[in-house]
């Protein structure tokens, strides 16, 4: 058929109107700065999609939160971060000076602390639908019943319509079927030590568990470079020598300004 009959195109329009969906174009992809990851993602992480970030163990919450914050910086725009009250009690406050330290500008941040997972998802539906938002971070702990395939489909559809990047941050949760574009597991990873054996820059072990439409997966160790706002591969710096865990007190300690 060379040309659609007018009736058919009219019908298609009506169906589109019923589904309330603009024809979805190609997603805008934002490079992470890490060559291998960008290659695996066909150019980078997509705006207007739902992405899941898992801390499979509660102990990795800090790393997963950091990764979500760093991705938000890459993706750009205003950040709306939604959390549960129980998360604040169990996992601590989202600490703004700490976000500043990874490069987030708090002026771009709106923080919502809501009573439970259901209210988080309800608010998230509103946030993700609002095209003025850059990134919506939806933080849910454990496996709330309300977060099922339907809920994640709803978020994914809203994100496609508005172009908002939705990051579903799941702490101490197990991956289940969802409508996410990509799914990541974040684990903490030993950092490249700074002089005097000080803990170094944020370093993660990233695993791409799943990618919609592409079978590719992979696992990388990445370090976050705050100044350039890119993920890089950790490179051992030359000055470091192996130091035993208990340093002999007599060893000369190169000084570093702290605080």
């Amino acid at each position: 058929m060379n040309e659609e009959s007018p009736t058919l195109s009219a019908l298609k329009l009506r169906v589109a109107a019923m589904e309330r969906r603009a024809p979805v174009g190609k997603a805008v992809r934002v490079a992470t700065g890490h060559g291998d990851i960008d290659a695996a993602l066909a150019g980078g992480i997509a705006r207007g999609r739902l992405h899941e970030i898992f801390a499979l163990e509660g102990g990795d919450a800090g790393s997963a939160t950091g990764f979500a914050g760093m991705l938000s910086i890459r993706l750009g725009g205003g950040i709306v971060w939604l959390r549960e009250e129980s998360a604040v009690r169990g996992g601590g406050h989202l600490h703004a000076p700490g976000l500043v330290e990874i490069g987030v500008d708090p002026a771009r941040l709106l923080l919502g602390v809501l009573p439970n997972a259901l209210s988080v998802l309800r608010a998230a539906a509103d946030v993700v639908r609002c095209a003025g938002v850059g990134v919506a971070v939806i933080e849910l702990h454990r496996d709330p019943k309300v977060l099922d395939l339907t809920a994640s489909r709803r978020l994914a559809l809203a994100a496609e319509e508005s172009g908002v990047a939705a990051l579903l941050l799941r702490i101490a949760a197990t991956p289940v079927a969802s409508a996410a574009d990509t799914r990541w597991a974040v684990r903490s990873c030993a950092s490249q030590p700074l002089p005097a054996n000080a803990p170094g820059h944020p370093t993660f072990d990233l695993e791409l568990l799943r990618q919609r439409g592409r079978g590719a997966d992979g696992r990388w160790q990445v370090e976050w470079n705050r100044e350039q706002a890119v993920f890089t591969s950790p490179t051992p710096s030359g000055v470091v020598v192996a130091v035993p865990a208990r340093r002999p007190a007599a060893a000369p300690i190169p000084l570093r300004r702290a605080g």
Binding site: T65, G92, G98, I102, V113, A123, G132, S191
Partner: protein, 483 residues
């Protein structure tokens, strides 16, 4: 309690039970407020007695005042038993003063027996309502006939006036004021001037008068939410016309629903930026009504709806920017309004730097609807790793630590029943108490360490107190987790 028995309320005055108020029947039998209950009982053994409850009385009066709110926005409470309405310019809306009085009486009938009076000044009206016993030719004559009790001064002054032969307001008014002031005090003259309308006396309304208000009255009460919302939409359109004419907008819109039986329901929405666009206002009200924990109960319907804009703020006509910058900011502001309307205050916040170096006090969370975009965060130093954690525990969590005494770094710690071996650390970063604040002198110094354990997890832990100088056995806490 038998219904027909005389009835009094009592209160304890200086250890004795005295009558606080009486019902008409008890009044007929010669009881009056201030009498000792024992005397009253002696006169009327069948007397029914309850404790006076001033708070309940006040609540009752507030409800009467609420019910009067529909007649005029200027309603003031008058002592513990009166309500004063400023009906200047309102009477014609009800078809004249007589019709207004009739409507007030009809609406307030369910509150019990009420007395009323109309007068040129608040004090005159209050005195006439309380003390007038027989009709008079004119307001001035009626006031002159009132007893000196109508001045509502201390009992002592009233008694002194009567002893001096001054029984009515007229007696007082016909005499020069200087001797009266000298003998009975300045307040007597002032009260007299207020009553006669010689002194300027203003009503103190219960609520501040809103900058703008619009109302709709219905011949037939309406009950459905949809009708209520449609009316709110109409009122918002009226408000828009007025606000546009003044280049103003409002950040708060309040709607009051007047039920036919006198009950009220208040709804209010707020926005971060000044607003006057009717669809936006209506959308916020729809959110508000949807989010109500107890739905609007229309009863027999609402017969009046009033929308008020308490304060106006400048709002120039807007033009969309081609770059889209302003659009996205406006979209964010609208989102904040919507979420705040639905979830209530204290949920959606912005963070601003706090004026304290104590980590747990270094951040202020401000309702996003109130806050301008906060600034003033210090940029982190180049090339440094994060020195502040991304999650902060408040309060800090206790850990057991193996560290060298007196001030060695931690080697190993147990947190949430898991053992962590420290392989890298940096510190201490000493954060002292804010000794310049009251009560902070005894607070202990904290030595913070950034540590990394074998599994690559990074923590912010501190020793609480300097060994031996502040405490013999400092405890350790984990205060945060790094990315």
């Amino acid at each position: 309690m038998p219904d027909d028995a005389p009835f009094v309320c009592v209160e304890t005055v200086r250890g004795a039970l005295r009558i606080a108020s009486v019902d008409p029947q008890a009044l007929d039998k010669g009881l009056s407020p201030g009498m000792a209950l024992a005397d009253a009982r002696a006169q009327l053994p069948e007397l029914a007695v309850v404790d006076a409850d001033p708070f309940a009385d006040h609540g009752w009066l507030e409800r009467i005042a609420d019910a009067c709110d529909r007649f005029t926005p200027l309603v003031a409470l008058d002592g513990g038993d009166g309500v004063t309405l400023d009906i200047t310019g309102c009477a014609h809306l009800f078809g004249g003063e007589a019709a207004l009085v009739a409507e007030v009486e009809a609406r307030l009938a369910r509150f019990g027996t009420l007395r009323h009076a109309l007068a040129d000044t608040p004090d005159a009206a209050q005195a006439l309502a309380r003390f007038q016993s027989a009709p008079a030719a004119s307001e001035a004559a009626a006031i002159r006939r009132l007893g000196v009790a109508a001045l509502r001064l201390d009992d002592e002054i009233a008694v002194a006036l009567r002893r001096a032969g001054l029984r009515t307001i007229g007696d007082l008014a016909s005499r020069p004021t200087a001797p009266i002031a000298a003998r009975f005090g300045e307040e007597t003259v002032a009260a007299l001037a207020r009553l006669l309308g010689d002194a300027d006396q203003r009503l103190r309304p219960r609520r501040a008068l809103p900058a703008l208000f619009f109302e709709r009255r219905f011949a037939e009460p309406i009950a459905r939410d949809a009708d209520v919302l449609a009316t709110i939409g109409d009122l918002a359109a009226e408000a828009e016309a007025e606000l546009t004419a003044r280049d103003r907008g409002g950040r708060r819109f309040a709607v009051r629903l007047y039920r036919a039986d006198g009950a009220l329901r208040d709804l209010a929405v707020e926005s971060g930026l000044p607003l006057r666009d009717p669809p936006s206002i209506l959308r916020l009200f729809r959110e508000r009504i949807d989010a109500l924990a107890d739905p609007i109960d229309p009863g027999f319907g609402f017969d009046m709806i009033r929308m008020s804009v308490p304060a106006l703020e400048p709002l120039a006509p807007t033009q969309l920017q081609l770059e889209g910058g302003a659009v996205s900011e406006e979209a964010m502001a609208a989102l904040v309004d919507r979420l705040t309307t639905r979830l209530g205050r204290g949920r959606i916040a912005r963070v601003a730097p706090g004026d304290s170096h104590l980590p747990e006090q270094g951040v202020l969370t401000i309702d996003a609807i109130d806050a301008p975009v906060p600034t003033g965060w210090d940029a982190p130093e180049k090339g440094e790793p994060p020195l502040r954690p991304i999650h902060l525990f408040d309060p800090p969590q206790r850990i057991e630590v193996m560290a060298e005494v007196p001030d060695g770094p931690p080697h190993r710690f147990r947190w949430r029943r898991v053992l962590h071996d420290v392989i890298r650390f940096e510190g201490p970063e000493r954060i002292a108490a804010e000794w310049w604040r009251r009560g902070q002198a005894k607070v202990r110094t904290r030595d913070y360490y950034r540590v990394e354990d074998v599994r690559g997890r990074r923590y912010w832990i501190f020793r609480h107190g300097l060994y031996d100088r502040e405490t013999p056995d400092p405890l350790w806490y984990v205060h945060g987790v790094f990315a």
